[in-house]
């Protein structure tokens, strides 16, 4: 367009605007004459909304989100090569990267520059180290921490999927699905608490759900880094930060009353936040809602949540209410207790609103309700002497116990699980919560004498997805999951000693000549070693995010059976030679949803294996 023509367009545009709309077209028709292009040009400009593009309504803002510098794809330092920016959040930017050393995908999280000063940096490093010591299948694994171009970063495992928020958005989930998904996360949180690490920022955005439906709790302890508020000024500062452009929006909803009022927090604050999360997942609405964050703070501190739907089992409603008690002393006192209750609920076959405790009025509540639930569900541990392992299975394809001789070992209130029998068949080791915490107990069959081996020292013994106790090859020790290590405790008493670092599921071959275990790192590498744990050799590693659990030796000492693809649709029993090589899938019959097939031997090893479903919990 020539300047002359543009001048003409401009003049006509303004002249037309000066006229009212009736006279406008008449004026333009006359002014443009035969020049229909000119008319069209002016009319198309006049047709635009006088406000102009939305973007121009006010001067450019939100400079920060545009300006924060981006690390280019292909940038490499150490073993890490940046692939792509996945997104930015309040705490920094997240990239997908490759760890070229191990050729695996990782997530790199650059913390925002708040952490630039040296004391913050030290704190970050220390917190990251603590978080990386957390070794749990439902906690996002921290691989590394460091500094690149003056910015602090964390390397974590890469989870390809969405968040709990996305998961809840896609469809309305039945209570069982919600609890099954979150009980593992709850267990992860319990493990962290046992290591004196608080999360402090539990919310759906911090729970990642892999495509295979496996949930992981992320950003452990990082929330603390954001906390630069002196304790006495906390209330005021929180109030201020909220009025300031809602920096805390979305988080207040999950705060405990003590957190919201700026008081000191402990594990019970996380328990409250987890309760909020569970409530929201079950009810698809938050327990505390308000129009503004300041009002929300008030509701969190003083308000009572509306009752959960009666279709949700009463036990579960009570559990959530207990977690949401305003008074920390009235809540669950440990995450572990919460987990135990959730697992009990999952084990209840009847999901209708608990007729068994209908006499306990909901408001006579909580503690009493939980005690009743415990008594009703209390299990008895039964050992069939001719069996090596007896899982807590209540579901068999074909009952291999037909004709077996049963001998009752325990008759305790509460729960006993994960029993194993010593090689000579004389002793049984199992987990039980008789003493309040889950401990490893041993007994000589028929003696009626029990010994509590662990006496509350190892909360890591309660774990959903691995065996956590068993006998050593010579039967003199029981092994214990003492996160992050495996330890040995003498059967007859004596000091507990560390045996393997960062390992899970140690199993000795039937001839006692070798030990198999797997590391709790990405892909669960399966290792073979001498019986004393020396000369380890990796025979298999899976892709990150896939799990290999419940290792079981074949009778002939030649191969190892294991459950692969834990909790995915592909979950099945696989076999790998103890000398390595390609694993082979042993297809099992359809496994009911939520159950985990675990390999286990029957008396007659003719069929080689017998996969029984094991309900998580």
């Amino acid at each position: 367009m020539t300047p002359e023509r543009w001048n003409k367009v401009e003049r006509l545009y303004h002249a037309a605007l000066d006229r009212n709309s009736e006279k406008r077209s008449e004026y333009l028709a006359e002014a443009c004459g035969d020049d229909s292009d000119l008319l069209r040009e002016v009319l198309s400009l006049l047709a635009q909304d006088s406000v102009g593009p939305t973007l121009l309504r006010k001067p450019v803002e939100d400079v920060a989100s545009v300006l924060d510098s981006v690390i280019a794809s292909g940038t490499q330092w150490g073993p890490y090569r940046i692939e792509v920016l996945l997104g930015k959040g309040g705490m920094g930017a997240v990239y997908r990267a490759t760890d070229t050393r191990l050729n695996r995908l990782v997530a790199v999280k650059f913390l925002s520059d708040d952490l630039a000063d040296s004391s913050a940096r030290r704190r970050f490093q220390r917190e990251a180290q603590m978080a990386s010591a957390l070794n749990h299948p439902h906690i996002l694994t921290v691989h590394d921490v460091g500094e690149f171009e003056g910015r602090q970063y964390l390397i974590t495992e890469f989870v390809d999927g969405g968040t709990l928020r996305d998961w809840l958005r896609t469809e309305r989930r039945p209570w069982r699905a919600v609890v099954e998904l979150l009980v593992g996360v709850a267990d992860g949180l319990a493990t962290a608490h046992a290591a004196n690490i608080l999360h402090r920022d539990i919310k759906p955005e911090n729970i990642l759900i892999a495509r295979n439906g496996y949930a992981k709790l992320a950003d452990f302890g990082l929330a603390k880094l954001e906390e630069r508020i002196p304790a006495d000024a906390a209330t005021r500062s929180i109030g201020e930060s909220i009025t300031r452009a809602g920096a805390v929006i979305g988080t207040v909803a999950y705060m405990s009353p003590e957190q919201a009022s700026g008081r000191t927090v402990d594990a019970r604050s996380d328990i409250f936040s987890f309760g909020v999360l569970l409530y929201e997942a079950l009810a698809t609405r938050r327990p505390f809602e308000a129009k503004t964050d300041l009002e929300l703070l008030h509701v969190v501190i003083h308000g009572e949540p509306p009752p959960l739907d009666a279709a949700i089992p009463e036990g579960l409603r009570i559990a959530v209410e207990t977690a949401l008690d305003k008074e920390p002393a009235e809540r669950y006192q440990s995450m572990k207790e919460f987990v135990v209750d959730l697992r009990r609920l999952l084990r209840e076959r009847d999901s209708t609103p608990a007729p068994a405790h209908s006499t306990a009025a909901p408001f006579v509540k909580k503690r009493l309700g939980r005690m009743i639930a415990g008594a009703v569900i209390g299990t008895a541990l039964i050992v069939g002497l001719s069996y090596r392992w007896l899982d807590r299975a209540d579901f068999f394809w074909r009952n291999p116990l037909d004709g077996a001789h049963f001998q009752k070992v325990t008759d305790w209130e509460g729960t006993e699980l994960d029993a194993s029998i010593s090689h000579d068949g004389k002793f049984v080791a199992f987990l039980a919560d008789r003493a309040g915490t889950y401990d490893t107990w041993v007994t000589q069959v028929g003696s009626g004498q029990f010994r509590n081996v662990t006496e509350g020292r190892f909360p890591s013994l309660l774990h959903e997805a691995t065996r956590t106790t068993g006998f050593s090859a010579d039967g003199r020790d029981v092994w214990l999951r003492t996160t992050p290590t495996i330890s040995l405790a003498p059967l007859m008493g004596g000091p507990v000693r560390v045996f393997l670092g960062r390992a899970l599921n140690p199993v000795w071959s039937p001839d006692g000549s070798r030990l198999a275990f797997h590391y709790a790192t990405a892909g669960d590498p399966i290792m073979i070693a001498d019986p004393d744990g020396r000369n380890e050799k990796q025979i298999l590693v899976s892709a990150a995010g896939e799990h290999n659990h419940y290792l079981t030796w074949s009778r002939d000492n030649k191969s190892i059976y294991f459950t692969h693809g834990f909790r995915t649709t592909e979950m099945d029993i696989w076999r790998v030679s103890s000398s390595g090589g390609t694993p082979e899938r042993i297809p099992t019959r359809t496994v009911p949803s939520g159950a985990i097939p675990t390999p286990s031997w029957t008396v007659e090893p003719s069929s080689n294996y017998d996969a029984r479903p094991r309900h998580p919990g």
Binding site: G52, D62, V63, S69, E83, G87, V94, G161
Partner: protein, 188 residues
């Protein structure tokens, strides 16, 4: 500080060479302040360009010794700089996004949507097209949008009457609206 004040005066009095010396000083300071502000304020909290430019102004210029006209000139320099800084950032992020497909992984908060950057890039492209036809109108938009200048300040910087700025602003918005919604301009 004194030097900047002097350069501003010289430029508003018509000395173009002063602008060339002013630009890099302002650019550096803007970047520095923006970075520092982003450090102390969380994302999700918007950082307005006017607030940013004001802060840089206060840091660089002795306000007691400066007429409001000179202040307008300072903001005018800043507007171009802000545009450059913002667009560099937006383009870098858009490139990162194109490399990344549709994967979304959140490690902490909901992500800042990428859409904003695409919009900003589209606006910048449209402004460049407009500058070919009518540089003054493009400049009016730059000053108003990227510098947060008022009509009066824009008029001062461009040595126009406020009425002319209003008219330019109105037509520019209509032209940009059409350009941005229809994708291509009617060009004859």
């Amino acid at each position: 500080m004194a030097e900047i004040t002097k350069l501003l005066k010289a430029w508003s009095e018509g000395e173009q060479a002063a602008l060339d010396r002013l630009t890099p000083l302002v650019y550096e300071e803007l970047r520095k302040v923006a970075r520092r502000r982003m450090r102390t304020e969380r994302l999700g909290h918007t950082l307005q360009t006017t607030a940013l430019v004001n802060e840089v102004y206060l840091r660089l210029v002795d306000a007691s010794d400066v007429r409001w006209q000179d202040r307008a000139h300072f903001f005018a320099v800043s507007a171009s700089m802000m545009r450059r800084i913002l667009l560099d950032g937006a383009r870098a992020r858009a490139t990162a996004k194109r490399g990344g497909g549709e994967i979304r992984v959140t490690l902490s908060d909901d992500l800042v949507p990428f859409r904003k950057h695409d919009e900003l890039i589209a606006l910048d492209d449209a402004l460049m097209s407009l500058a070919k036809i009518d540089p003054r109108k493009s400049r009016v938009v730059e000053l108003r949008y990227f510098g947060g200048l008022t009509v009066e300040e824009t008029a001062e910087v461009l040595k126009l009457s406020p009425q002319s700025v209003m008219r330019d602003w109105r037509l520019a918005k209509a032209w940009l609206s059409r350009e941005l919604t229809e994708g291509d301009a009617v060009d004859s």
